[in-house]
């Protein structure tokens, strides 16, 4: 029995060997086109959150430069995790400035050479100097981009105090976040962050469950309530963290929060269904609620905005390879205007304003950037109607919104302690 079986194996194996050599022969005959092999395919593996990874951008890049983007969409946490633990798994990363204090010391990111970025000098001074193009200083509490924008040298892991040639990230988008409200259910004007914890909205408020951002929103509330004034909301001391979490915990125990959200869609659902009427929110989420025909306002508040910014960096795994050239080509394309205009039309802000302006219609620019009433219907890049003619952007112009930034998303020195306290808060 076993013998016959063995025989079978032998014959099958020989047959496969034969087939294999035939296949080899076949493949050898096909390699007669050296031109095809001479040029490696232009592919970039692009790690980031899904927010900026739009198929439209990928399509346009391919048309203009021939570069194919391979998107690797993960959560904000996973972007950091990958940069630190698997730098070989991507070529270019799109991450937030506040993560840099964790990412740069790992040595896994390559500083971007400003000399190779065509529009490097045209990048808005929000990043380089922490001020508006008009020269107005903006709030710099937390991890303001200017604090982590430049490195002392290409291989340095030290942040430079003044602008240098070496940038940690080349900025892509940034924005100013505030509370979203349902005006039809709130039924009165909202003007301060403290309204988030107003007992009037008991069981109808929400906050985001990303500790480092959630605690900043809470700090805005605490300051607004007049309880305490932080020297730096983005870098609290342990007693300050305790104080902030105490306010949040008391509110939670009193049933102030309907839910916490972590995911963009969750925040849209909470608001659209009327489960919450006031909550921390991101700009495109407000747009998403509005596009369902439900009134939603991205409410400007007296104490200002909590801002964030994101940008590109290369993986150290592509240092000195042709991939690095491709990555620079892509980043240059990104700052060249088309992508900036695309992002501006979603309510984000682009890093190089003038190139984006050139690619937008004047009425679009007036609505999104100058805070003027829309001359015509405002449409999203995919054609859905966002605002009817006559509407104004919540919070007004670029200068009004970015000029009122109070603090930036941050990683604190006491991050470890803060996360512990946050877990305690969730368990309370």
């Amino acid at each position: 029995m076993s013998r016959t079986r063995r025989k079978h194996v032998v014959t099958r194996r020989t047959a496969m060997k034969g087939a294999g050599s035939l296949a080899l022969l076949g493949s050898q005959t096909v390699t007669g086109f050296p031109a095809v092999w001479a040029q490696a395919p232009k592919v970039l593996r692009y790690l980031g959150t899904a927010v900026n990874q739009s198929p439209d951008i990928a399509k346009k890049v391919k048309e203009d430069t021939g570069i194919s983007l391979e998107y690797i969409p993960v959560t904000t946490d996973d972007v950091s995790r990958r940069v630190i633990t698997q730098p070989n798994s991507y070529d270019i990363v799109d991450t937030e400035y506040f993560s840099l204090r964790k990412l740069v010391p790992s040595g896994n990111m390559l500083a971007m050479d400003g000399k190779r970025i065509k529009n490097f000098d045209k990048i808005t001074p929000v990043f380089s100097k922490g001020e508006l193009p008009s020269g107005k200083k903006i709030g710099d509490q937390g991890t303001a981009p200017k604090k982590v924008m430049f490195l002392e040298g290409q291989n340095s892991t030290k942040f430079a105090k003044t602008p240098t040639q070496w940038a940690t990230l080349i900025p892509t988008t940034y924005n100013a976040d505030t509370l979203g409200i349902r005006p039809d259910l709130v039924k009165r004007p909202i003007g301060n962050w403290k309204e988030l914890l107003n007992p009037e909205f008991r069981g109808k408020a929400a906050i985001l469950n990303i500790p480092s951002i959630g605690i900043m929103d809470a700090a805005m509330v605490v300051e607004s309530m007049g309880e305490y004034k932080y020297p730096d909301k983005g870098n609290m001391t342990k007693p300050e963290i305790d104080r902030t979490m105490k306010v949040l915990t008391e509110a939670k125990r009193a049933g102030q929060f309907r839910a916490f959200w972590k995911d963009f869609n969750e925040s849209v659902n909470l608001m659209a269904s009327g489960e919450t009427v006031i909550q921390s929110m991101w700009s495109p989420a407000v747009t998403a609620v509005k596009s369902k025909g439900i009134p939603c306002v991205y409410q400007p508040l007296a104490e200002g905005y909590r801002a964030w910014a994101a940008g590109f960096a290369l993986s150290k795994s592509i240092k000195g390879t042709p991939k690095a050239d491709l990555a620079y080509e892509f980043v240059n394309w990104f700052l060249d205007g088309w992508a900036g205009a695309y992002l501006n039309r979603q309510g984000y802000y682009s890093a190089v304003l003038e190139t984006a302006k050139a690619k937008m219609e004047p009425y679009e620019w007036a609505f999104w950037m100058e805070g003027k009433p829309a001359e015509r219907d405002i449409k999203a890049p995919d054609g859905t109607l966002l605002e009817k003619a006559g509407a104004k952007r919540d919070g007004g112009s670029y200068d009004e919104r970015m000029g009122s930034v109070a603090c930036w998303n941050a990683v604190m020195d006491e991050n470890d302690y803060m996360v512990k306290k946050w877990n305690e808060f969730i368990a309370a």
């Binding site: 010391p105 929060f257 269904s273 996360v419």
Partner: protein, 307 residues
């Protein structure tokens, strides 16, 4: 089986040994790569140190000590209070126990119905497939669809309001313990049904007849014949449900509005903050407590013997 192999002494030992090892190799390799190695790494990392962006090879009890930091002080203080870790474990355990009880009762009843009341095999199969419906939708779809059903302005609240049963919408329907338990029961009752049904189908029907002939009432047959003979299924189902619920953080997060702490969520938050060693320590503690409950269950029934 055992007898038949013992009766073949003519087969040489070596030829029998090597193929057996080779045959066992694939599964052993899969286990080693995807289970033993990661588990070992987790235990190892749980003793490492860390800073904001790195994990540092070390041998420290820091992560375990910090997990239970202040627990004793708080318990012994004048106003006794549980520390975060104990409180979180207790919440998780409470939810797991309630879900286990409900799925057990439901699962047993459904399996009983399928095994003893449905006579035709095809009807049994159709009903069985019906039980798998919760698995047809993704978690995201469910997340979205629970809100219109249970929400403040949801179907149930609207109906009750219109019937004048309630005057104010019920807030506890969504983002509450109730919602979490409902979702778990909806999802995991099947894990009870399958093993219990399986052991019930193997009960010799003549035993039930004998019990009836001997004058046992329906309840007596259930208590003295069917339950003891379905014990294996009950224990296997219980292990499934307990282990899944203890480790879950997605369902608790979505249905609890992220406001209910669970051990899984705690680990998730720490991973998010790149604090791998404390996350690993919590994972080891969780594993130990789940293993303990499984050990307790297997004390009640020797699964291997009864399979």
């Amino acid at each position: 089986m055992r007898v038949s192999t013992a009766n073949m002494p003519s087969e040489p030992q070596i030829e029998k040994g090597l193929p057996a090892w080779v045959q066992a190799l694939p599964l052993a390799a899969v286990f080693a790569i995807f289970f033993v190695v990661p588990l070992f790494l987790t235990v190892m990392v749980s003793f490492w140190n860390y800073n904001e962006y790195e994990i540092l090879p070390d041998f420290t009890a820091r992560n375990y000590l910090e997990a239970f930091e202040g627990c004793l002080d708080r318990l012994l203080s004048t106003a006794p209070e549980l520390c975060t870790t104990l409180k979180t474990y207790l919440t998780t355990l409470r939810i797991a126990t309630v879900v286990w009880l409900i799925t057990l009762i439901l699962g047993f009843a459904i399996a009983y119905f399928l095994a003893f009341h449905v006579r035709s095999l095809s009807v049994q199969i159709v009903l069985f497939l019906l039980c798998t419906i919760p698995f047809w939708t993704s978690n995201v779809i469910r997340m979205i669809s629970w809100i219109p059903l249970l929400g403040r302005n949801g179907l149930i609240n609207q109906t009750l309001l219109q019937l004048h049963v309630i005057k104010q919408p019920l807030e506890w329907l969504l983002f509450s313990d109730f919602a979490v338990i409902l979702a778990f029961v909806h999802l995991y009752t099947l894990f009870m049904i399958v093993p219990i049904f399986n052991s019930m189908m193997r009960i010799d029907r003549s035993l039930v007849e004998a019990a009836t002939d001997a004058g046992a009432s329906g309840w007596q047959t259930l208590a003295n014949v069917i339950i003891p003979l379905s014990k294996t299924g009950i224990v296997i189902g219980s292990i499934f449900v307990l282990t899944i619920v203890m480790g879950d953080f997605v369902t608790i997060g979505v249905m609890g509005g992220q406001q209910i702490a669970s051990v899984g969520k705690m680990i998730n938050t720490q991973m998010g903050a790149l604090q791998f060693p404390p996350a690993a320590a919590h994972a080891v503690i969780l594993l130990a407590s789940v293993l303990m409950s499984i050990w307790g269950l297997t004390r009640l029934v020797d699964i291997r013997k009864e399979l």
